[in-house]
Amino acid sequence: MRIEAGARTDLGRVRKNNEDCYQIVPALNLYVLSDGMGGEAHGEVASTLAVQTIMAHCEQAENSRATPTFGEPHPDVSERTNRLASAIHLANRKVFEMAGANPGHKGMGATIVAAWIEGQRLSLAHVGDSRAYLLRAGSLEQLTADHSLVAEKVRIGILTPQEADASELQSVLTRAVGTNENVEVDADEQMLLVGDSLLLCSDGLSRMVTDPEIASTLLTSTSAQNAADRLVDLANENGGVDNVSVIVLRILPKQESVLDRLKIWKRNSG
């Protein structure tokens, strides 16, 4: 299989600065997206530092097995997935230290959603309310659980999803990178299949665009970049109240054979 990537970030229609940050490293098949917070231009300091730290740590680990790990490893996921989580722990430490060292940066932080693909296996790690979605066989699944107050209340059953969508508390996060000395990182893995589309996005997309709109855009786009552009346009058409960033990955066969095309067609139509 091969990966086709597209990405786009946009101010949105209300905000004056973009606190989102994303980075794609094709050589590592590593994709990271972050939504900064803290106001007065410090949000982007946090998100940029977080993304760059993660990229550097994973690259270093690729080249040297002696690279130290940060945070408690999860026993139930692979070494690779734990490495990605370790990178987020390190990013947390760096952002936290920077926020502590400079009074002007106090309170800054960021969300992270990171995807690392090795062979067919997707390693996924996240903190905050930036999300990963998987479109497979025509149906869209959210792979990440938001670390936000409303989402956690929905999970323990004291709020309905409808109430959560209408809540004014959607911006209250229960976890973020850089706001505490330590952070709990969610890490998970999946096997990817030819024909899958993976979406990483900031809440500027997921709050503006519904799941069915996301699914149909991913399904009907001509390329990963086309999907990324159309999703950002949709978020802006629907109000664009926040910065919006997306990374779209399409999993394609190495060399598309007639059989592969038939398989994908069959899966998407069945």
């Binding site: 917070m37 999860h74 004291i158 998970d188 999946q190």
Partner: protein, 241 residues
């Protein structure tokens, strides 16, 4: 219309329009403003209109109701007043209806929580303590550990039984597969099982598995005793003690 705005740590939780009926505040869920906090009494206070004025009345609560930081039993309210109950603030937002002809002149809604904020560990713990406690009570025997397993009933596999230890269990010919299938035409990823917070979910790979004889659509939660078919392989999903 006048309204009450419930806030916690500066964040707006709820807005309650004020009508002719009294608005009740307390820990019991049938209050108009339920506040799930142990510092709040079941029926803590109420706000109502008396002779054209807005009044707050404490209903003999244990920890009291505070109006602009002063403990009160009964007090008249004016626009902008803050009532403190437990750790929650309730702000009075009065609009004089008579002068408002239509939507155009309505007061702008209370400031939305636009800036992202993060709760600290203590706040999180407090918010979820009760829910967790309730969850623990509902469990029959918390110390009984049950191990999810797949038992092979039919087909060519490398083992007869598998314990699901990780978050991802791959069924297929792949070297990464936990349940390694043999056979020339077996796909490398035939199906996969993902562990979620509430259990194990079976999803498709290059084959569409069946659960209890029915082809799965989206991810399907596995229940104790489910029969899984992946190609010609038949597996039994069991929680073992």
């Amino acid at each position: 219309m006048s309204r009450l705005v419930l806030q916690f740590e500066g964040a707006v939780l709820k807005e309650i329009p004020l009508g002719t009926r009294p608005v009740t505040i307390g820990r019991a869920p049938d209050n108009d403003i339920p506040i799930d906090n142990l510092a709040v009494s079941n029926y803590h206070a109420r706000v109502y209109v008396e002779a054209g004025s807005l009044v707050v009345e404490d209903l003999n609560s244990l920890n009291g109701s505070f109006l602009n930081d002063i403990r009160v039993e009964r007090a008249m309210l004016k626009d902008g007043d803050a009532i403190l109950i437990g750790k929650h603030h309730i702000f009075v937002d009065q609009v004089h209806d008579a002068a408002v002809p239509a939507d155009g002149l309505r007061k702008a809604p209370a400031p939305r929580v636009n800036e992202t904020m993060v709760l600290d560990t203590r706040e999180r713990r407090e918010m979820f303590e009760q829910a967790v406690a309730a969850g623990e009570r509902s469990q029959l025997s918390p110390d009984r550990v049950r191990v999810p397993t797949l038992t092979v009933l039919r087909g060519r596999t490398d083992q007869k039984e598998y314990r699901l230890a990780g978050k991802l269990t791959v069924i297929g010919r792949s070297e990464m597969a936990t349940v390694r299938l043999r056979g020339w035409f077996t796909p490398s990823i035939a199906a996969q099982i993902n562990k979620h917070e509430d259990g194990y979910y079976l999803g498709r790979g290059d084959l569409v598995p069946k659960v209890n004889g029915i082809e799965i659509g989206a991810l399907t939660k596995l229940n104790d005793g489910d029969l899984i078919e992946v190609g010609r392989v038949r597996l039994n999903f069991l929680y073992r003690d």
